[in-house]
Amino acid sequence: MLELYNGSLNVEEILSRWYREYKDKNFGAFINFVGIVREENQIDGLSFDIYEPLLKNWFSSWQERAKKRGALVLMAHSIGDVLVHQSSYISAVLSPKRRVALSLIDEFVEDFKANAPIWKYDLVGGKRVYAKDRSLKLPNSGILSSRG
């Protein structure tokens, strides 16, 4: 399940709903990672663009990967502005086994950081400033460039 929201995430509602929905499905481990916007560099918050078709493909391939290990992945992400101390991102894994859950959440979150087609901007003085220095190039970047 991939959920996209305009603005910040209602973390309490999302975690509670996911827990209620899956607690009777005989997964022994439910692990989730919540990203909260930090107050730093005088930003008012962050803002996000998402390319949904590719994000859905990426998420589906992860669901397949989790399924092979008897597990399930869930994710929620914000589109647009999310202010400091609000949340923009939740990833979760449900698994019968503790070890699988702990390994998968790590791989899932790290792969998300490297490959999910999402662009982040700092909100500074009412403007969106692309967080270029914190962004990562996707695989095979640069193939259309005529430089170098």
């Binding site: 990203g35 996000f48 663009d49 998402i50 390319y51 078709p53 590719l54 493909n57 992400h77 923009s88 991102y89 979150v109 998300f112 950081k113 490297a114 490959n115 999910a116 087609p117 999402i118 662009w119 982040k120 901007y121 692309y130 967080a131 270029k132 914190r134 962004s135 990562l136 190039k137 996707l138 695989p139 095979n140 970047s141 640069g142 193939i143 259309l144 460039s145 005529s146 430089r147 170098g148």
Partner: protein
């Protein structure tokens, strides 16, 4: 005509191009200095699948996406 979309921070309107492969697209862009800054660091998807090969054949109705560096979460 294939359609080219510039995603995230690139801030360009989509354009229609008449090309047979991605090499021809590279050629179309070669003198666009401002775009080159983005192309150097951007990945390319055709119909929502990332591609690595400029020889990739492009059909009419194909969607080509230019994806600059990402940072979710």
């Amino acid at each position: 005509m294939a359609r080219v979309e510039f995603l995230g921070p690139i801030e360009r309107e989509p354009m229609e191009v008449d090309i047979k492969n991605l090499k021809e697209l590279k050629d179309i862009f070669k003198d666009d200095e401002k775009l080159q800054e983005w192309l150097e660091i951007s990945a390319v998807a055709v119909n929502d699948t990332l591609v690595s090969d400029l020889d990739k054949r492009i059909e009419k109705e194909d969607k080509i996406s230019i994806l600059p560096p990402v940072c979710g979460g």
